[in-house]
Symmetry: none
Subunit: 314 residues, 2 copies
C-alpha cells in the first residue's frame, strides 16, 4: 500500500471537522479533492473510515478511529522529521574562520579542508595562518573561533584540546653516514652543524631537547623559515630537527633530505585545537572541531602512526 501523507492529512482533517466541506475549506482545497482522497484511501486500505450521513457530515467508524489515531502519529512524525531536516540546514551552513600555525597549515590543511568541504558543503572555511602569538590573539579577540596549533603559551582563557603528539626526528642530508641508520641518538650529532628553526617557541623547544640529554648543539644557522632549514640540510650545510614531517624527501629547491628517528624518548610536541573557554561555539564551529578531532583519531586520515616519516632513504 502506497501511503500518501497528503491523503492522510485530508482524512485526519475530515475526522477533526466531521465534515468534508469544512475540512476542504480548512486545507484550502476543494471539497471534491477531499472526497476523492478519502475514497481512494479507504479503497486502498480496504477499510471504511467514515460513515456518511446525508446532509449531516460524516462520523468515523471504529476501525476508522483507530486508523486516524495512528495516522495522527505518522503525520506528527513526518512534521518533526521535516523540522529536523530544516534545522539541520542552519547547523551545517555558515562561514567560519580557523586559525592555523604556519607550518602545520601546509602539512595538514590541504587534506583536512578538502575532506571537510566534501562532507560539509554548506560550511565555508577560511584559513588564517600565523605564528602562535597571532593565533592566540585572534582567538582571544574573537576574530577566529577555532585554531589548530601547538600547545605553546596557551593562556588560561583559551582551552587546548589535544589532538596528536609528534616526536622529533633528525633531518639529514641523504648522503650523511647517519642517514643510513635506523635511528640515531642526539649525542651522535654533538659535533655536527645544527640548523635551528628560530621561532619564539620552537627555539625553546629544540634547545630544550638537547639540554634534556646534557648536550650543547653547534648552531651553524638560524632561520625563521621552516622550509629554508630543510633547504640548507638538502645542500649539506648540517642537520636539523623537525616534528612535522612533509610527506616528501624533496625540498623546494630540488634537493633531497632524509629523516631518522631518535633513540631517546624525547618530549614530543602537542598538536591541539584552541578555542575561547568562555564561549559556546556556533554549531558550524563545533562541527569543524569534531572533524578535526576525528581526523586525528584512530580512524582518521591523520591517525597516530601515520604521522611518522614514510620513507627514510638509506
Amino acid at each position: 500500500m502506497n501511503v500518501s501523507l497528503r491523503a492522510l492529512r485530508y482524512v485526519v482533517a475530515t475526522a477533526d471537522f466531521g465534515n468534508l466541506t469544512e475540512a476542504a475549506k480548512f486545507l484550502n482545497v476543494s471539497q471534491p479533492s477531499i472526497s476523492a482522497a478519502v475514497a481512494q484511501f479507504e479503497a486502498e486500505c480496504g477499510v471504511q473510515i467514515f460513515v456518511r450521513h446525508h446532509a449531516k457530515g460524516v462520523t468515523t467508524t471504529i476501525a476508522g478511529t483507530r486508523i486516524i489515531n495512528e495516522a495522527r502519529l505518522l503525520l506528527n512524525h513526518a512534521r518533526d522529521f521535516g523540522q529536523n531536516a530544516r534545522a539541520m540546514a542552519d547547523e551545517v551552513r555558515g562561514e567560519i574562520t580557523v586559525g592555523c600555525f604556519w607550518t602545520l597549515a601546509t602539512h595538514f590543511m590541504p587534506s583536512l579542508l578538502s575532506d571537510f568541504a566534501e562532507s560539509h558543503p554548506g560550511i565555508s572555511v577560511s584559513l588564517d595562518e600565523g605564528d602562535q602569538a597571532q593565533i592566540l590573539d585572534a582567538i582571544i579577540s574573537g576574530r577566529t573561533e577555532l585554531a589548530f596549533s601547538y600547545e605553546f603559551a596557551v593562556p588560561e582563557e583559551v582551552v587546548a584540546e589535544p589532538l596528536a603528539e609528534l616526536p622529533p626526528y633528525v633531518v639529514l642530508h641523504p648522503d650523511h653516514p647517519l642517514a643510513q641508520r635506523d635511528n640515531v641518538r642526539l649525542a651522535d650529532l654533538k659535533d655536527e652543524p645544527f640548523i635551528l628553526l628560530d621561532l619564539p617557541h620552537s627555539r625553546d623547544y629544540f634547545l630544550g631537547l638537547f639540554r634534556s640529554v646534557g648536550i650543547e648543539p653547534k648552531i651553524a644557522f638560524r632561520s625563521k623559515a621552516y622550509e629554508l632549514t630543510r633547504g640548507l640540510v638538502g645542500h649539506g650545510r648540517g642537520y636539523t630537527i623537525q616534528n612535522v614531517m612533509p610527506r616528501t624527501q624533496t625540498t623546494h629547491d630540488g634537493c633531497r633530505v632524509a629523516a631518522v628517528p631518535l633513540v631517546e624518548r624525547l618530549e614530543p610536541v602537542h598538536l591541539v585545537s584552541l578555542r575561547l573557554r568562555r564561549q559556546a561555539p556556533r554549531p558550524a564551529v563545533e562541527v569543524f572541531a569534531r572533524h578535526l578531532k576525528e581526523s586525528f583519531s584512530a580512524s582518521g586520515v591523520f591517525a597516530p602512526g601515520t604521522l611518522s616519516p614514510r620513507v627514510t632513504i638509506r
Copy 2:
C-alpha cells in the same frame, strides 16, 4: 516543508546503493526521476545530502547521513502504518463494540459473550448498554458497529436482522390463584392491578397488547426499571407482563414470582441485530453477527423454545 514519502524512499535507496542509477533500477524508475527527487528534496530542506563524484556515484554528507537515518525511521513508521491499516481489513482479531438493550444484556449477554470469548479468543468485545435511542444513535454515528436489541423504531439507514420472537407472559405472585393455571387470558386480569414497565417503546407495546383484545388495564404502578416491576409482583402488588424471562423465580429482594403463558396469540417482541445499512462490516464484526444468529438458531444456546419460562410454580 512538504515531506513526500516518495522522495524519501528515493533518497534512502540512493544512499543504500551509493549510486542513483542502481537505486533507480532497484525502484523500477528512471534515473532522472531519482535525480530530480533528490535535488528537490535537498532544495526543500536546504541541506546537501549527497556529494556527487564524477563517474563514481555519490556519498552522503555528514548532515545527509543523519537525515537519512531519520528518514529510514519515518519510512518504517509509514510502512507499519500501511500494514496495520490493511491488516485491520482482513483481521479476525480485533476489538469490537456491540450495543445492547439494557434488559436484554443481563439476560443474554453473559452466556453469549462467554461462548464467543471461548470460540474467538482473538476478538475482544466490549458491551455498550443503553436504551433504544442510545443504541440506534451509537450505530448511526459509527460508535458501535453492531447492536442486539428490539425491533423498535428502526430507521431506514439501519438494518434489523431478526433473531428471535418472544411472546408475552404474565408474571404473578406465586400465591395468586391464576398462578396455578397452565395459562391465562388477558381478560382474566382485567380487574387486577397492572404494573407497567414504562419505557418509551415497551409502554406502547404492552398497552397495545391490551388494546388488541379490547381491554383497559388497571395501571397500579409505573416503573422504568425492569427488575423493580418483578419486585413489586413479588410483594403481591399486582401482575405484570414480560417477554424476556429470567431463568429464576426469585427477585432481587428475595421474593418469588411465577410466569404463566397467555392463551391469546398476542404480538411477540422481535429480537434483532442492528447494523448500519451502508457500511461494509469488518470481519471481526461479521463474525460476532454470525455468532449471534447461530445462538438463536435451532442449534444454539437460545434456540426457539428454550426462551420460555422453565418452571412455573403450581
